[in-house]
Symmetry: C2
Subunit: 467 residues, 2 copies
Amino acid sequence: MVKETFKRELLSIVGKDNLWENPEDVLCYSYDATPLPPCKPDLVVRPTTEEQVGSIIALCTQEGVPLIPRGAGTNLSGGVVPVDGGVVLLTTGLNRIVEVNREDLYAVVQAGVVTARLAAEVEKLGLFYPPDPASMSVSTIGGNIMENAGGLRGLKYGVTKDYVMGVTFYDAVGERVVGGGKTVKCVTGYNLPGLMISSEGTLGVLTRAVLRLIPPPRARKAMVVVYDDLIKASETVSAIIAAHILPATLEFLDQFTIKAVVEATGVDLPTDAGALLLIEVDGHPAQVEYEYREAVSICEDSGGQVRVARSEEERDEVWLARRKALSSLARLKPTLILEDVTVPRSQIPAMMATIEEVRKKYDLLIGTFGHAGDGNLHPTILTDRRDEKETERVEKAIEELFQGALDLCGTLSGEHGIGVAKLPFLVKEVGEGTLRFMKRLKGGVDPRGIFNPHKLVAAYERGLERD
Amino acid sequence: MVKETFKRELLSIVGKDNLWENPEDVLCYSYDATPLPPCKPDLVVRPTTEEQVGSIIALCTQEGVPLIPRGAGTNLSGGVVPVDGGVVLLTTGLNRIVEVNREDLYAVVQAGVVTARLAAEVEKLGLFYPPDPASMSVSTIGGNIMENAGGLRGLKYGVTKDYVMGVTFYDAVGERVVGGGKTVKCVTGYNLPGLMISSEGTLGVLTRAVLRLIPPPRARKAMVVVYDDLIKASETVSAIIAAHILPATLEFLDQFTIKAVVEATGVDLPTDAGALLLIEVDGHPAQVEYEYREAVSICEDSGGQVRVARSEEERDEVWLARRKALSSLARLKPTLILEDVTVPRSQIPAMMATIEEVRKKYDLLIGTFGHAGDGNLHPTILTDRRDEKETERVEKAIEELFQGALDLCGTLSGEHGIGVAKLPFLVKEVGEGTLRFMKRLKGGVDPRGIFNPHKLVAAYERGLERD
């Protein structure tokens, strides 16, 4: 519980229209998009200026009250769950696109700007902001940076981190910190944009970013490739990369997911297919033609049947099918656990085999889709948290999926982060020495530990507990 | 002075063939490629295994002895000068290319691997490591990461930071820390590859990196564009970017530099030209043709005369001219001060005008060349450190160049770092709050301050002293 005086001071910073304390109001901020038990914050505030962020932090540090920065709350690992209560700080009041510079190819935005809104704005000006997490219609740039959000275009265009040129954030004493800037090269001091990437709100509250924009591709071509066999589809992915073709998008859906999508959306996809690849190449028109022909030939050699999108509508339908994968699966069971294992691309067939083994061994429903081109798979377990016996099997299955990814030189999480959900497993991937280093880093910049406590470096204690 | 017992313990770690203490041996490590007064280290060690690095650090931390990691020492801001003595740790004994993975497009290398050697190795396997700092024939991957080295291909391909997928380093207690890895996406904990970038050896000693490789471009075309006027040349740069053409390379030489290069190398360039642009486009053959034609047309519209390299030999001669710019200028005067101001690309004409004003005002010899496409210019002051009066004017000129860059939303350094040379100016760019944050970060991970002291965060005290 926070003190009355603390609340009054917060109120004087943000005003009564931007502070919530009633249980029914703060309830919405007790969870994110991860199936975890809710944790209610004491207060929710929405600063409307960047300076207010500094004042709020200074107050929280002074009183030792936890502060949990939150964008749209689409987090997939519990990153914004206020484990110990405290103050949830919504960045949604900081939603200005400050500048889009066509000559120098950058945008300056506040942290609460919704990603899709920025993408649409720059598109109007003939520019391109490539990162496209599935949540982009609601998720914010600040959240994307804090989680290093990926998306469907990662293979060719990279992820959020590849587009952050500059950051402004407020540190644990409420002071404004600026790193990087509007130049494409900048090496004046520590790489603070890099430090903020995937820090999950534990080192500071981001208020502003300078984002790199690029010229849009001049042409693109999309196709669906139908396979009778899952392994053949995943082997094609390696073959395409090995042929030095980098499609903008190279996505994968297994049979279970295809069926779920067709049932949920009525989209025209073959439900008897063993697996699908969705491929889009883009760039200069001649290069697109060349890469398209090469990709078709590789897919056909490996037993795939290629269907080309002949119009923008058909293309959009292909991407809709992929974007609806998660929500289509979510309809089938009360609890959906979305994993995010990532392996070097050539290990995808082996990772797919591991997922299949685990599914059989623990008798679970698992649909798998994902960014095959990045080696980033989303095995999605459909279950019911209330079924204790199945939940036990689910937990064992997750542990084996993680171990399987690590055994293949992979990682627990390609783009969803650690948050709360993956805390107990972090030590397995990075080792105790690395966790101790992260803890000292965090301790240096946030000595009272007010920023998003019980996340990330908390894995140190948690990891040891489990051993 | 270090203690005898300390020296004996170091000796027991690295062996007598890898420890130097005689004045004539350690002298070579008292400076780097920056014109600064030399500072002699007490000892120089060259570990030959990564584990030895951990042991050396643990010993230095225990005894409170400064430890200065050093690759090839090609630093251009004094980053490896052992200001207070201590131990210089050479990474050149860690020079194994551990793995080049053609399927998954990455290389694992030890920190002391020379960049050009890696580039050549991966080229043999049909792959491409784009970062190409001018020093690449001797500089090391570890040094490149610690300084976030740029190069001639930054415009299209980015800089070192864009290719670091994973790092292994030893922290201040001598413990091994691992961040990132072999997957193209990884968000498990703090972005430690990002943290190491441009940290100038102040946070840990890098021993190993996983580097991203890409398929090489299928075609390329180079040209030299001759201008009678410097401003016209710099305006062309903006026009090319605004036309959404991203050449692999877009370099600039002013008249003074052209003359110096022709005198030094005999290369066939017009010495009466006001300025030159060196442009190379690459990619798919059809795209290269298109971008080449567009670039030619833009250059001609702005008054440039285009000369195309008709053979690989002619192309190599063009790049040789650019790569020899610095050494050609260095022949002219005893002291060469190479600056690294960087501005948003559209501000290049304004920055060129500032350089010209400063040159006139302080009556100095300044040759300017650089990565115009990145907004990164190298105004190079030719002087004689022994001439006290001129040295005073040089110092004022540098200060005005920095201020000029900042006034244009630019930065002190695009790719050379802060080191010692730019310490007094860092606070002007980032502000005191940011420096305080950097200091706390450093304090958290290196509480005894043994890693490369008097660099980077030392700017905090230095900056305040000047005010």
